[in-house]
């Protein structure tokens, strides 16, 4: 079979079919995410399109690595699958994986392009009653005044030389001569709010788009850090002997005994909330399941002949762990990571709903929903749409993780 598409790129096979391809991809992905993090997420999309080289490189590589990690063909069946396409074929044969892959990549692209897609400034507070709690699809009329400035109105009516306009419930009027230009197009603009506005008159669609990189970014970064931390703890516990193992597992049990939200709140009650704090706290409270996974994997592999062989050849425990055992755990770790992303996003949203996660004025889907509380009876859309967006994102990552697990279980 001939090699097609991506697989013809030099180095592709070495990367994806090497024993450590998947683990390397995950590690590189985590590193680039952390690098990105230090440049702030809202800079991400401009960075991709027009930003300085290192930033856009970091952004694109993290995306590409995610793709490659998924493509990895360590488990391709020799003689049946073309090199570089094995796992990919397995994956795309499963319709659920295809759908979820498209959906989660769609979310990622949306997050990356958010600033370009936003119809309006997500943080601009509207002009009084005329712009607050507007229903989806509402139009706001902007009257441009001759001496500068604008008036926002819900309806406009030109009667001879006076312009009557409605703001909220009340009509007022002003002479036509006060407005700029001569033609209606000179002094009149219409702004549409496709998903309505919130209680401060901010455009909901723009805010939801602005929240995408924050919510997804925290979810992915924290989940990846948690998985790496878990791999470290689980690896050490599995290799370091009975005493250390018992101690580490006790600590893991202790963390598992906490309802996660309480643990997170305990920390955020003391340190002030910020994007970085939220990410680190979520990572520090999500490593337990991956740690157990890796430990179980290592305990089951520790007495395999290839490990004995490596030991006989003079490799130390760290070497065996890093070069022989962890690569075997890479596939289940990938599944754990994608399932963890959804879960982490849910906890982040819960925290932001409580006002302790993503601090304002950053938008996250959770804190937009929190902002809907004061006017829930008048403006249901402010709570409903971000929730749908969040559920969709979590669902697509969960579907992906589920599908990957199914494919791996089938082998």
């Amino acid at each position: 079979m001939t090699r097609r598409g991506l697989t013809r790129l030099p180095g592709f096979r070495a990367w994806t079919s090497g024993r450590h391809g998947l683990a390397l991809s995950l590690a590189a992905l985590a590193v680039s995410q952390v690098l990105l993090w230090t440049w702030r997420w809202e800079m991400l999309a401009p960075a991709l399109i027009s930003g300085p080289l290192p930033q856009s490189l970091a952004a694109w590589t993290s995306l590409a690595l995610l793709g490659l990690a998924l493509l990895g063909d360590r488990n391709a069946v020799p003689g049946r699958d073309a090199p570089g396409t094995g796992s990919w074929r397995h994956l795309t044969r499963d319709p659920m994986i295809c759908v979820s892959l498209v959906a989660s990549c769609g979310y990622l692209v949306m997050a990356l392009l958010a600033p370009a897609l936003m119809p309006q400034d997500p943080n601009r507070i509207g002009d009084g009653a005329a712009t607050q709690n507007l229903p989806p699809g509402a139009a706001v009329h902007l009257l441009l005044r001759r001496q500068g400035g604008t008036i926002a109105a819900n309806a406009v009516d030109l009667q001879g030389d006076t312009v009557r306009f409605r703001r909220g419930g009340s009509w007022s009027s002003l002479p036509r001569a006060d407005l700029r230009g001569t033609l209606p197009d000179d002094w009149h603009r219409v702004r549409y709010h496709w998903l309505g506005t919130d209680h401060l008159g901010r455009d909901l669609l723009s805010r939801m788009l602005a929240a995408a990189p924050v919510s997804l970014g925290i979810g992915m970064t924290a989940a990846l850090l948690a998985v790496l931390l878990g791999a470290l703890v689980g690896g050490v516990a599995g290799m370091a002997g009975r005493r250390v193992d018992a101690l580490l597992m006790r600590i893991t049990d202790m963390f598992l005994a906490f309802p996660r939200l309480f643990l997170v709140l305990l920390v955020l009650a003391v340190i002030p909330g910020s994007l970085a704090a939220a990410t680190l706290v979520l990572a520090a409270t999500g490593w337990m399941a991956p740690a157990r996974l890796v430990r179980a994997q290592i305990l089951s592999l520790r007495e395999e002949p290839f490990v004995h062989a490596a030991r006989a050849a003079g490799r130390g425990r760290t070497g065996i762990l890093v070069r022989h055992l962890l690569p075997h755990a890479a596939a289940p770790l990938l599944v754990a990571a994608s399932l963890r992303i959804g879960e982490t996003m849910l906890v982040e949203a819960g925290l932001s709903y409580l006002g302790l996660g993503v601090p304002l004025p950053h938008a996250s889907w959770g804190n937009i929903i929190a902002g809907a509380r004061p006017a829930l009876a008048q403006a249901w859309w402010v709570a409903a749409f971000p929730g749908m967006m969040l559920t969709g994102a979590v669902l697509s990552f969960n579907l992906l993780g589920d599908g990957l697990r199914r494919v791996m279980a089938r082998r």
């Binding site: 309802p259 709140l265 955020l268 949203a349 709903y353 006002g355 709570a383 409903a384 559920t391 979590v394």
Partner: protein, 325 residues
């Protein structure tokens, strides 16, 4: 049996001690001295020192640790910094509502979850199975607080069927016992439904997979060969064997249940532990947060213990060194 329970209880003590230590460490070693939490810039230096003495913050950290640990063992919790009353007085009335909310939700969750899981297992690979599994996946992905808000939007604000928040109405105290119970029941519907739906997915999936595993066993094949209808097989023989992993799940589901309960309590202004914790965090009242966290962790440890005991009652093989009674 009694010895086993005592041994398991004793094994829980080091775990609780570790948890206590973690809570203490988080409170004292994170950036920012803990005394800063209790004061504001307006307080004079003398008052600050007096407060530090009252709360024991002027002592070395190891002394604070030992004293607080001993005090906790004696059941003597600290003073609340925002309300000036003993923490126990603030926490105690919140335990009941949380137990009512979480307990009811857990019960409904497992009944409904096992039923739906059994249905899915019975119709494996058919439309109903896919529908139930799909439902489970969607429920697993919905943020619980958003679900609560949707419930309020639909059932309280739009349809006006059920009250949107709180534990009881103001007028309930005059309505007699039955009226009071009815009132609390009405208020419980939405929070319990929200919390139930949030945890339902996990139960459905576990019930389905463990039933499928059991249904493939030899003895069930034999029963099937004798012509027993599939549903009878499932409920008479299958569930009894599949119940063990579900009891384990009962213990494992507790942390998620209590995390969910916190959010549900905030959404519905339910006067429970979660709500108390949340208010304490907003008031920077660390002793209350500490006590509430410890209490929920203790609940989880005890719940797991109860699940282990239940398993060893149901299945004597799991008892260490135990034989059938």
């Amino acid at each position: 049996m009694g010895g086993y329970i005592v041994r398991r209880l004793l094994a829980g003590i080091p775990l609780l001690w570790l948890i206590w230590t973690l809570v203490f460490v988080v409170g004292h070693l994170v950036p920012g001295r803990s005394e800063d939490l209790y004061t504001s810039p307006q307080i004079s230096r003398q008052d600050q020192e007096r407060l530090n003495r009252v709360y024991g913050l002027d002592r070395p950290i190891i002394v604070q640790y030992t004293r607080q640990l001993l005090a906790t063992v004696r059941g003597d919790l600290a003073l609340s910094t925002s309300r000036g009353r003993p923490v126990a007085e603030i926490i105690a009335p919140a335990v009941g509502p949380t137990l009512v909310l979480a307990g009811t939700a857990l019960l409904v969750q497992f009944t409904l979850g096992i039923l739906l899981g059994a249905l899915a297992a019975l119709r494996q690979g058919r439309v109903l199975d896919h529908a139930i599994s799909g439902l489970a996946l969607v429920l697993y992905s919905i943020p619980v607080f958003w679900l609560g808000i949707l419930m309020v939007l639909i059932f309280s604000l739009r349809l006006a069927w059920l009250p949107p928040s709180h534990y009881s109405s103001l007028s309930a105290s005059t309505a007699g016992l039955s009226g009071h119970l009815f009132d609390v029941g009405i208020h419980m519907v939405l929070p319990v439904a929200t919390l139930t739906l949030a945890g339902l997915a996990v139960v459905i999936r576990h019930a389905r997979s463990s039933l499928l595993e059991v249904l493939a066993h030899e003895n069930l094949k034999a029963a099937r060969a004798r012509g027993l209808p599939e549903w009878r097989l499932l409920f008479r023989h299958g569930l009894r064997q599949a119940i063990l992993p579900l009891i384990t799940l009962l213990g494992l589901a507790l942390p998620a249940l209590l995390s969910g309960a916190l959010l549900v309590e905030v959404v519905f202004s339910w006067p429970g532990l979660g709500q108390t914790t949340y208010q304490a965090i907003l008031a920077r009242d660390y002793p209350v947060v500490q006590a509430a966290t410890l209490l929920t962790a203790t609940m989880v440890v005890l719940g797991n213990l109860a699940a282990d005991v239940a398993i060893s009652v149901a299945d004597p093989r799991t008892r260490p060194g135990g034989t059938a009674p």
